[in-house]
């Protein structure tokens, strides 16, 4: 069976082209079914905001069919598609999928969403034994990379670093209250990141109450005027501040006053505003952790460089998995040869036993049958092992041809 991959991705296709060939899951399912039927093989379509890829399997490579399908999707942008299209086969295609599943081919290396998208594409696709094995191993590879390296753990943006810090202080954020100071885009982005990790956006406080109410409605929170946050400060676990105020919004004294009622519960304050909203001296208070934009950006820079280091380790893991898949694929090619060789040996044994059958008693016949069976098994054991080993290496096809030639397996197959 031959594997063909054709696709476009964020590496060389602009968004205008990617959105043209992008498909939702139902469309992926329908296209995979059509292609599998037309090819009499297997097909999976993976489509995300960063890529659309077709994985096709049949007796021969199916480059033309894969490209045709993408050209049809591209419509009047077929010329652009030709320039951005990549085609890969067999080992290279498998390695590519493993890298995709591991997040190594993503815009932000190690992002976690892609693994779920690969799983969904696999489940919606028309996978047979070959693609089933390929995608299962790809999913396994993606999980291994995330478990055995830290590539997916480090935040890649200031809002996600803020949320990761909150988790470092509180663990699971479910039920933890967030107080937003300011109702701008930065506040909203940070709030959405925290909410996606389970935090409850409790209050939005803004100088203009109406703006605060708008954002509060979107986030399911209540709204307050900026000068009435003292009570909420006693109850909140995380404070995110991003107002456009030119002076401090929270002083050390106001936070210290709230701390007395908090009974030692930690408080994380994230100052995303420039100029800063929160008094830097708040960080000196026991149980308070104050991070401003520079602190968060430093964390992101460090973690991104860490991601690159982890990516090198992840590439090694992925290469190992790709080798395993190559060995499995090669063993598929050698299996028919081994089966033919064993069938030939059994046939010869049966023929000779038949010839001698009339001259033997029942007991002798059973004894000879057992002995010859063992001889055949022992004779073929080592060649079978060696053939499988050779299949995993580059010269597997040569070995298979030599065995076929030496034992006349082609003629035997034709005769049968």
């Amino acid at each position: 069976m031959k594997l063909t991959l054709a696709g476009v991705s964020h590496h060389n296709a602009p968004i205008e082209l990617r959105e043209r060939v992008a498909l939702d899951l139902d469309a992926c399912r329908a296209l995979a079914q059509r292609l599998a039927q037309r090819l009499e093989g297997e097909a999976v379509v993976l489509s995300t905001c960063n890529r659309t890829e077709l994985y096709l399997v049949r007796e021969e490579h199916a480059d033309d069919e894969a490209v045709d399908a993408l050209v049809q999707l591209a419509g009047d942008r077929a010329d652009d598609l030709a320039a951005a299209l990549y085609r890969l086969r067999d080992e290279a295609a498998a390695l590519h999928l493993f890298r995709v599943a591991a997040g190594l081919d993503s815009l932000v290396p190690g992002e976690g969403e892609i693994l779920g998208q690969v799983r969904a594409a696999f489940e919606a696709g028309s996978a047979g034994p070959f693609l089933d094995r390929l995608f299962r191993q790809a999913l396994h590879t993606g999980k291994r990379v995330r478990m055995e390296t830290a590539i997916g753990e480090s935040p890649a943006s200031v809002p996600s670093a803020a949320a990761a810090l909150a988790q470092q202080v509180f663990g699971d954020l479910t039920g933890h209250r967030v107080l937003l100071l300011g109702a701008g885009k930065i506040s909203e982005s940070a709030a959405r990141n925290l909410r996606s990790r389970g935090a409850e956006i409790a209050v939005v406080a803004n100088r203009t109450l109406a703006h605060g109410e708008d954002l509060a409605r979107k986030l399911g929170a209540s709204a307050l005027a900026l000068d009435a946050v003292a009570t909420e400060l006693e109850r909140a676990d995380v404070v995110v501040s991003a107002t456009s105020a030119s002076e401090l919004v929270l002083s050390r004294e106001s936070v210290a006053a709230a701390l007395r009622a908090r009974k030692g519960r930690p408080l994380l304050l994230l100052d995303l505003a420039v100029p800063r909203d929160l008094d830097p001296a708040i960080n000196d208070l026991d149980g308070c952790f104050l991070y401003d934009v520079d602190d968060l950006e430093a964390v992101v820079t460090e973690t991104l460089s860490g991601r690159r280091g982890e990516a090198a380790r992840a590439e090694q893991l992925v290469a190992g998995e790709a080798d395993r898949f190559r060995e499995w694929q090669a063993s598929l090619d050698i299996v028919p040869t081994i089966a033919s060789l064993r069938a030939l040996a059994e046939e010869i044994r049966d023929r000779e036993l038949l010839k001698a059958g009339g001259r033997l008693s029942e007991r002798e016949r059973k004894h000879i049958e057992s002995v010859t069976s063992q001889i055949v098994a022992k004779l073929l054991h080592l060649p079978t092992i060696r053939l499988k080993e050779a299949a995993a290496a580059a010269d597997g096809v040569v070995y298979a041809d030599v065995v076929k030639h030496l034992f006349g397996l082609e003629e035997e197959e034709r005769r049968r």
């Binding site: 810090l165 030692g264 149980g287 982890e310």
Partner: protein, 262 residues
């Protein structure tokens, strides 16, 4: 002594090696999760199995209670500490706790070995009450050791967060809140075990005057009870962790000196 029994004594060697490997590998885990962390966890598991086999060998071979000496108690104590750590230590999130627990385990087991606590020599102490007293006290102190490990980790991580260290998210450390909460729970459990141990001891043995060991034990109990009360009143986080470590200093330094020196 039969050669089989001598062989059982030698189980302390693989246990020490495996714990040592784990302590070393946990340092590698600081660079990020991966092979080092898995090697460390397997070191803890294999070492604990070897030490379990050693304790079983001791229990089967020795008449009476095999861990009545200070070195024997230390051997059993290490086993309890590592066993308790295994409950949390195998999960990736809490793996780094091993960085504080395993070096202590290695040092104490080596001390127990040097003091003859891993051998199969006869011991004049015997009886179910003694076994219960020693086991409860050691389990209590093992819990306090774990709590101290968590407190040390808390102080370290809190300091990193306060200083805005760039690498603060690169090392997988348990959340501060969880460390604070789990340490408090470990202390509550340990206080109950210690109280039971003292109760069994008081009810079962004839003791002379109120001695230094008993005074220190009560001081330890009082310290940890005070910690829990203060924590309830708002002394959480770093202050609770420091108080926890102070209490453990009493356990680690003063108690052995007063209890076993005699």
């Amino acid at each position: 002594m039969r050669s089989g029994e001598r062989m059982a004594e030698l189980l302390v060697v693989p246990a020490l090696l495996a714990y040592g490997e784990a302590a070393f590998a946990y340092a590698g885990e600081l660079r990020g999760p991966g092979l080092a962390g898995r090697l460390a966890t397997w070191g803890v598991r294999l070492g604990w199995l070897a030490q379990t086999a050693l304790l079983v060998g001791q229990a089967a071979s020795v008449e009476g209670f095999p861990w009545g000496t200070w070195a024997g108690s230390l051997n059993l104590f290490v086993w309890l500490v590592v066993g308790a750590y295994l409950i949390w230590g195998c999960t990736p999130r809490y793996r780094l706790l091993g960085l504080t627990v395993m070096p202590i385990a290695v040092a104490l087991l080596a001390l127990a070995w040097a003091g003859g606590g891993t051998g199969l020599d006869e011991n004049e102490l015997s009886g179910a009450a003694l076994a219960a007293h020693v086991a409860l006290m050691l389990a209590g102190f093992a819990g306090l050791t774990l709590a101290a490990g968590m407190a040390a980790l808390y102080v370290w991580q809190e300091r990193r967060l306060k200083r805005h260290e760039r690498r603060v998210l690169r090392v997988r450390v348990p959340p501060l809140d969880a460390l604070d909460r789990l340490a408090a729970r470990a202390i509550v459990g340990s206080i109950i075990l210690l109280a039971l141990g003292i109760g069994v001891g008081a009810a079962s043995f004839e003791r002379g005057d109120f001695d230094a060991a008993m005074a220190v034990t009560f001081l330890i109990l009082a310290n940890y009870c005070a910690l829990l009360v203060l924590r309830h009143e708002g002394w959480r986080g770093r202050r609770a962790a420091l108080l926890n470590l102070t209490g453990f200093a009493l356990v680690a330094i003063v108690l052995p000196l007063t209890h076993f020196a005699g």
